[in-house]
């Protein structure tokens, strides 16, 4: 393995002020999420509904996909099926060829990132213009997005200014976000007006009605889809939900979890092409049907790509999206990617402290940290684990299965950090790299709780 999370993260954290800034910025987004969630007394109930609707959908996926296809076709939409990323790219390429299309705009779609659509088309001499502001910025810089909701979150405004100066001729050194956004607006308006094909993602597809919903704040998906004579919407098949009324649950959860907004500015519901327009949907598998069969990991398919688990993750915040070397980074990416390529992504389930914060914020209640832990077992059994990790894991396994020993080991650990810090602050302990080990608490949470928890209760 050439590029591991640990090696890439080491590069990222070499710039300490930037790492701190990244950490704080994402934590700020996490706090906005909390505020939005606390504004609804039924928030936990909503998460439960979201989770149950998704569980039900996965348990009846065969029927829902057939129902969706039938209704979509009746609505005048052309439906395609792609077993993997390559098939997905070929289907789109074929549509482009058939219409002799030159000008393509694309709004945010993590699926097309997963399938490497842009690179595929580029190899065939076809250029795609990404229209989400963050995605356009990273596209100019020939970088992948580092976050599924905030693609350019790893960049400072000076970086964006320099990039726009080079590509759009904006004033050198003008770092004003308002000015830079306006420049992108003008530049991309031209692209929209001239576009012959708009590619969009899909947030939710409704089996009952054969339509799909696309959510953006910028309006870029709509500017493309309502302009171009051809619209292709690409979706992983797990985006399906049974009924239109279920959209209420998911639209209430999505933006609040993602950015703390009550809803995205635009939640656009597409059911039929406009007159003289051609509308396509590409339903993609790319490992999803396999994941569905893995009992321990199947509910990762419930994900609505809100990125709340990224923003809350102490490892993501302090290592950056590019360290995950995959299209979908963060905790959920570390569950999805080993399914796509276990060997190449064997490091990712280890890029976690297993603190469980991801699981606590996930709007559809995916047991993210437990799945990360389970992947470690699978990856070890398949022989893809470095020896140092293996020893640690065996210990961990032993500890977690024996609560009394675990408590004792905790006491020992706290004692060790206090009394003989060099034992843990050594080179074998990779967690110590670039950081001092924290001050150990004098007592464990359990000890503290036994003493104080009950008396503090009102």
């Amino acid at each position: 393995m050439k590029t591991t999370h640990a090696a890439l993260a080491e590069k990222f954290i070499a710039d300490e002020p930037r790492t701190d800034w990244h950490d704080e910025t994402l934590w700020f987004v996490r706090e906005k999420r909390d505020k939005a969630a606390h504004g609804l007394p039924e928030w936990e109930q909503l998460r439960e509904w979201g989770s149950q609707i998704k569980n039900h959908t996965l348990s009846n996926l065969y029927n829902y996909l057939k129902e969706f296809e039938e209704k979509a076709v009746a609505n005048g939409i052309k439906v395609h099926w792609a077993a993997d990323g390559d098939e997905h790219n070929k289907i789109i390429h074929e549509i482009i060829r058939k219409h002799n299309i030159q000008k393509i705009v694309k709004s945010k779609s993590m699926l097309t990132e997963e399938c490497h659509l842009n690179e595929y088309l580029q190899e065939h001499g076809i250029e795609v213009v990404d229209t989400d502001l963050g995605e356009r910025i990273v596209q100019f810089r020939k970088e992948p997005p580092s976050h599924i909701v905030l693609p350019a979150i790893h960049l400072k405004k000076e970086d964006v200014s320099a990039t726009f100066h080079e590509h759009l001729g904006t004033e050198k050194g003008n770092n004003d976000p308002q000015y830079l956004t306006e420049a992108a607006r003008q530049h991309l308006r031209d692209k929209f007006v001239q576009s012959q094909l708009a590619i969009t993602g899909v947030n939710f597809a409704v089996a009952e009605t054969g339509g799909f919903v696309v959510c953006t704040n910028e309006g870029n998906a709509d500017m493309g889809a309502h302009t171009a004579p051809v619209h292709i919407a690409c979706m992983g098949f797990e985006k399906i939900i049974p009924k239109a009324e279920h959209l209420s649950v998911f639209l209430r959860l999505l933006a609040r979890s993602a950015t703390g907004q009550p809803i995205t500015t635009y939640s656009s519901h597409f059911h039929k092409p406009r007159p003289n327009q051609e509308m396509h949907i590409v339903l993609v598998d790319n490992g999803r049907s396999r994941q569905l069969g893995r009992e321990d990991f199947r509910n990762s398919l419930k994900c609505i790509r809100c990125a709340a688990c990224f923003n809350t993750c102490p490892v993501y915040r302090r290592s950056g999206g590019h360290s995950y070397h995959t299209a979908v980074a963060g905790p959920i990416g570390s569950i999805l990617n080993p399914n796509l390529d276990m060997k190449a992504n064997a490091d990712l389930p280890f890029a976690s402290t297993l603190c469980g914060s991801c699981t606590n914020v996930c709007p559809v209640k995916i047991n993210i940290h437990e799945q990360l832990w389970k992947w470690r077992q699978v990856i070890a059994a398949e022989g893809y684990v470095a020896t140092s990790k293996k020893i640690g894991m065996k210990g961990m396994d032993f500890l977690l299965s024996k609560p009394k020993v675990y408590r004792f080991a905790g006491k020992m650990g706290r004692w060790m950090i206090r009394i003989v810090p060099f034992v843990v602050n050594n080179k074998l302990n990779v967690w110590y790299k670039q950081r001092e080990m924290p001050e150990p608490p004098k007592e464990s949470f359990r000890d503290w709780y036994l003493k104080n928890g009950k008396t503090n209760k009102k």
Partner: protein, 194 residues
Amino acid sequence: MSAREKILNTIAINQPELTALPLIDRNALIRYEDVYAQFKTVLESIGGKVELVQDITELKEQLIADKASGNFVVNTIAALGDVDDQVVSFTASELEKLEKAYIKGTVGVAENGAVWIYESQMVNRLLPFICQHLIVVIDKKDIVPTMHQAYDSIDVAKEGFGAFIAGPSKTADIEQSLVIGAHGARSATIYVIE
């Protein structure tokens, strides 16, 4: 075997045992004393403007003045005057200079400031997105507390397209600084008719 068969067959084998759909208990949902007040507060917190109007005819004068300004202004609301039906077939390059669009909405949502607009109300799907300034008119009685009641009162598949729109277009992609006016409307004003 086609990709379709391959995918569906694998799903049939791998999908877990059937579980039940939850019942969405409406009693569990948030209630607002004054849905209009909530709608206004939320929408203004996300960059929109909300004004209460006694009678829709009050807006007629404003429309006349807007049209007289020489800017490209489109009206799609019959109660305000002549409807600019011709825009139905306008292309993006023809709409590119659109300064303002007046559009009727079906339902407003108090919890998030969104307004549902059907394609027939937009006349042209591009209208509410490509205009520089968006004016939406809704009736006060059509404001509901949450998205659940909103979906009850619309039929998303009735027309080819429809959207919930909540305020002006925005982005925070540059260092998380909020900028209003990304690709869509730079401002959104919602007139609520008593």
